[in-house]
Amino acid sequence: MTPVLQARGLVKRYGHVTALDGADFDLLPGEVLAVIGDNGAGKSSLIKVLTGAVQPDAGEIRLDGEVVRFRDPLDARRHGIETVYQDLAVAASLDIADNMFLGREIRRPGLLGSVLRLLDKKRMRAESAEHMAALKIGLRSLAVPVESLSGGQRQGVAVARAVAWATHVVVMDEPTAALGVKESGQVLDMIRRVRDRGLPVVLISHNMPHVFEIADRIHVQRLGRRVAEIKPGDYSMAEVVAIMTGALQLSDGKTVVTDQEAVKAAGVTRD
């Protein structure tokens, strides 16, 4: 199966910090791929490189098997890749419809649109309402600034926008990080609905229960590279955490204990 989105040997340095140190990445058609890793493991950097938000210093990205190079986020969006960036998803003082269509506004038909460049606000509102409804995001009004929404609703707007425009891949960087239990559940439901449409989803998350609940496969990122690619059913949460922290390593599909104490502390039982 050709991966939808693939990367080999990605390197990204910020001055002395190496955020990505030869990272590989594979996203298969129709799957929810969780990307997990400690703080600073390079998850966000990986996502930013894959979606054109930053340029890698080295490495190769393939979309449907073809080598691509995204000059900027707009370029990736044109290729059908939509991203919900961590903490940088919506413009706070704009309303929901403005946010849904930011950078892709619809103008009025005829001279009003082509000469006067008038926006078709009615149509953008109506379409936004449909997209919000499709993901079952309940809102009282679409004409209020998103800063007046709850954290979950705001994230819902960002997710709905990504889903509405994506034709290829949806990427979400820690979409539940700032949310409560109920709101996180709503975002996970949205991710399921996206997968049910056949779109592959990349989900960056810290939250192991969420990851195990929703992911088809898990990409473990550590010190700027992928250290494991696993199925949730094959390992326990404690083992995955141990892999994430480096206490456990994978080699030829087998786990190797590198730090007995840490593994014991993590509650992993292995011989």
Binding site: P73, A91, A92, L94, L119, E127, H131, A133, R140, S141
Partner: protein, 332 residues
């Protein structure tokens, strides 16, 4: 996006336009302006007349127009300290080219507009290319342009301007009220920029940029180009303010506009636009300029010494930024 569905989902609970205005940060300033007008109407007989209103508008015309450019820049979370100086230089260029160099007046005006837009462009490039804070860039530019004005004019006031340069100072009558063409130009500019900011994609992008440049960039907005465009357009508006200034005073004056940078910021702030960027309406800045104008005019008619006008303006500014700060804290 799947644009095939044309069925309009009924949107319950959409606020009406009037209610939406109430929700904007411009509602407070508008109420303040109305209250001030009511107060002065009862306090002095001369206040409530077409002629007096026409006078107030003439008095705020130059600062009001500067405030349009200032609003654009403040909406991007920038600030422009150089606009009064740029305007003064633009005015001198127009006057000297038309009088001393004998250029056709319209060409002299065009050159003045272009020079002002050029300074805006330089400001914009310094802010984006070298990532300098707008405060510092425009502070530097203020001094550069101020010096250029005095060097170029040799500190001489330019008199004897040809008709096209003073046309905007002419009046026409609405009923028995004389209105200057310049007032009409200023109001027209406000309406034009209100439309640009609220009805076009460009306007939405300016707000998004002011909210967060990184969010705007990640949504695919070309933020550097947008910023340079905003500063350049603001410069062009300062050029129009220069023409208004020259028309109103009838001379090219190198000393003009020295406090207008701060006065334009005052108008923007009083109009409810946030100095943190991304929030506010350009019409608010007209209201802000009118608040200052109405207080000045009303207090003068009441015979209050002018220093109290300054005192009240200062208190209003502090009040306005306090409201902004508190409302931001509430929505965070």
């Amino acid at each position: 996006m799947t644009a095939t569905t044309t069925t309009q989902t009924p949107l319950a609970n959409e606020p009406s336009p009037a209610r939406r205005l109430l929700l904007t940060p411009t509602a407070g300033p508008l109420a303040a302006l109305v209250l001030a007008c009511v107060f002065f109407s009862f306090s002095t007989d001369q206040f409530l007349s077409g002629g007096n209103f026409s006078l107030i508008i003439q008095q705020v015309m130059v600062v009001g127009t500067l405030a349009i450019g200032q609003t654009l820049i403040i909406l991007t979370a920038g600030i422009d300290l150089s606009n009064g100086a740029v305007m003064a230089f633009g005015g001198i260029v127009m006057a000297k080219l038309a009088v001393d160099s004998g250029l056709p007046p319209l060409l002299a005006i065009t050159a003045g507009l272009a020079v002002c837009a050029g300074f805006g462009l330089i400001n914009g490039l310094l802010v984006t290319r070298i990532s300098l804070p707008p405060f510092i860039v425009t502070l530097g530019m203020l001094n550069v342009v101020f010096a250029l004005t005095h060097i170029y004019s040799q500190d001489q006031t330019v008199t004897g301007l040809p008709a096209p340069l003073t046309f905007l100072g002419q009046t026409f009558s609405i009923g028995d009220t004389a209105v200057t063409y310049g007032s009409v130009l200023m109001i027209g500019l406000f309406l034009f920029f209100a439309y640009l900011l609220s009805q076009t994609a460009w306007g939405r992008h300016v707000y998004a940029l002011g909210n967060s440049p990184e969010v705007a960039r990640l949504t695919g907005i070309r933020t550097a180009r947008l910023t340079v465009g905003v500063y350049t357009l603001a410069g062009l508006v300062y050029g129009m303010a220069a023409l208004l200034l020259v028309s109103r005073t009838g001379v090219g004056d190198p000393q003009a506009g020295q406090t207008d940078n701060l006065d334009s910021i005052t108008a923007v702030v009083l109009g409810g636009t946030s100095l943190f960027g991304g929030r506010g309406l350009v019409i608010g800045s007209l209201i802000g300029a009118l608040i200052v104008g109405v207080f000045r005019n009303g207090l003068q008619l009441m015979g209050v010494p002018s220093i109290y006008q300054t005192l009240i303006t200062g208190i209003l500014v502090i009040l306005a930024v306090t409201v902004d700060q508190l409302s931001r804290r509430r929505t965070r």
